[in-house]
Symmetry: C2
Subunit: 345 residues, 2 copies
């Protein structure tokens, strides 16, 4: 595959879009922005943190002295359960619709200094159980079309607080990203009679060059079509449509694979690796969604080091995504690091 050493484009069959791959572009000198590396805190409790146990939040509520997972409704929710429908506008080019929903915050742990990479297997399993209960509960509401669970990790990724937590936004409509994936998975299923990610998972397991981590239930790859330098895709080996389909041992396996993935990320640049991650799974309405295959996307911004990120700007925003190293070389580097966290060796 030495011909992949030159600029080329690769196709993402999940979003049905292209990415431009320009290997070796990191050889150019960098005089641009250098961020602060994100270190670990040794503060187990921060009196200023509105997510720590016992503290009062900006909205005026007081957190309980929680000891494991703690979930509450976002005090500054981007979605409300009862927004009115917008009225008619002067033109069909000015189209608006109501979007009702709920926003929740899930604190993973009372200890302010932890991250998923540093939490124990049992603690992460508790988080997976909580996500499952939330998915089931929110999906069952008549108003919910989709449940998006996501984590913004690190100041570079807009996290407004380092306390280990994620968010859940449940929307009335299926947002564009999972809607695109639904269409792609439906089209693949009707064309091939099989599931897109089942087939892709087998291809990657067979090739091996893009694998980062694995266990009995999950495979983690830098996908063929990765956009971010160290982007990964966590794919269930079985055809599971959503967290609702998981057995307890599959939930435990998810906890294991998330820990493996985040530990490798932290070890790559010996930093608390920033990322946005989240699960894509079956929408809540519209049938049994046999076409859907549960997966997680990790979108981390770093490129050269703990302080120099990839900027998805000019050409990427106006044209198409572009990456500076191959997915294969990124996977090789993530495979090469230890699976024990660098701070715990």
């Amino acid at each position: 595959m030495s011909d992949l050493a030159f600029p080329h484009r690769r196709y993402n069959p999940l979003r049905r879009e292209w990415v431009l791959v320009s290997p070796h572009r990191t050889q150019r000198p960098w005089q641009g922005e250098v961020n602060q590396a994100s270190g670990f805190s040794d503060l187990h409790y921060d009196p200023q943190c509105y997510l720590c146990p016992g503290n009062t939040r900006a909205g005026g509520h007081t957190n309980p002295s929680y000891e494991s997972v703690f979930i509450f409704d976002n005090d500054y929710a981007a979605l409300l359960p009862d927004s009115p429908a917008p009225g008619a506008t002067a033109s069909p080019l000015l189209r608006a619709e109501a979007e009702r929903g709920r926003c929740r915050v899930v604190c993973f742990h009372p200890d302010h200094s932890l991250t998923l990479a540093l939490m124990s297997h049992a603690e992460i399993e508790g988080v997976v159980d909580a996500w499952t209960a939330q998915y089931n509960e929110l999906c069952a509401l008549p108003q919910t079309g989709y449940v998006q669970i996501f984590e913004n990790r690190g100041a570079m990724m807009g996290a407004s607080n380092p306390h280990p937590h994620c968010q859940i936004w449940a929307t009335e409509h299926v947002p564009d990203e999972p809607a695109k994936e639904t269409e792609a998975m439906l089209a693949y299923r009707s064309e091939h009679g099989s599931c897109l990610l089942c087939d892709y998972q087998k291809t990657e397991a067979g090739q091996g060059t893009r694998i980062v981590a694995e266990n009995d239930e999950f495979l983690v790859v830098v996908p063929w079509w990765a956009v971010w330098p160290f982007e990964t895709l966590v794919i269930a080996r079985q055809h599971l449509r959503s967290l609702a389909d998981f057995t307890q041992s599959q939930r435990a396996a998810l906890a294991d694979i998330l820990k493996q993935t985040t530990v490798r990320y932290d070890n790559l640049f010996e930093t608390s690796f920033p990322y946005t991650m989240g699960f894509h799974q079956a929408p809540c309405k519209g049938g049994d969604h046999e076409e859907w295959h549960f997966h997680a996307h990790y979108y981390p911004p770093l490129l050269r080091s703990a302080t120099v990120r990839k900027f998805m700007v000019g050409f990427e925003m106006l044209g198409m995504p572009q990456r500076d190293i191959t997915p294969e070389s990124a996977a090789e580097r993530l495979r090469a690091v230890s699976d024990t966290h660098f701070t715990r060796r």
Copy 2:
């Protein structure tokens, strides 16, 4: 339109996607990342800058002592004119194609300290003339499918050098963004018998609430479907498909409107306002593209102040774009500032 004071979604007919609008979400307290404000340099010549006249670039070439616009081939190009075609892969899910092309750098001015907002009308007109010549020259090459002209302004937007410059990437295929717009404009034309952006421009001119600036040839609005807090769309009033269709007075009018827009941006937070901007125009091949309507997108990251940006992360990357203020309030603020640059008053 008070019902637009609640969370709702708006439709972007150019990309055929939705954006979630959550007005007043900026009321939540911000404990996240605070960037450095980008000030102006008073260094007219920087011996370390590889774009200043007479200096040697990283690639080893020496810049001439240029006095107006200076254009050269990018020393670390993401595209090459003669990349080989990738060979066959093991699976149709691993799809790659050659992407050949050219990357150029356009220095706007020899003076290191300037930006478009600070350049004279005549100087900006010289830049517009250079863009036009580049579009014509690159489009005429048999290999070129599309010419993307874009500017990354400011360290926050990944600009690796503050010297006033932009880039041009000419690709073999039409990248996904202009390809999506082509499809939307074609579909609109066949459904309505008219041009999408001609119709939209008239609607916005009639309403007025989203207008930021205008002259005889161009209208600048915060579009109904803006994603970034202070995103703007520069629309030609006439049905011009590309820079190739412009008269000299239309090029002068484009120079004028770009200056008006960047001056207002700088004045908003009294800073050198960071942004990514670029032109979308007719592809180079495949007929006369009567459906195409020339426009420019400005995507600026700032939200609250010169130092606090909007993060398009978690929900935005995994679900759909979300904004925290209405386009109408953003336009009102950009209209309210002076059209004279704050450093020149």
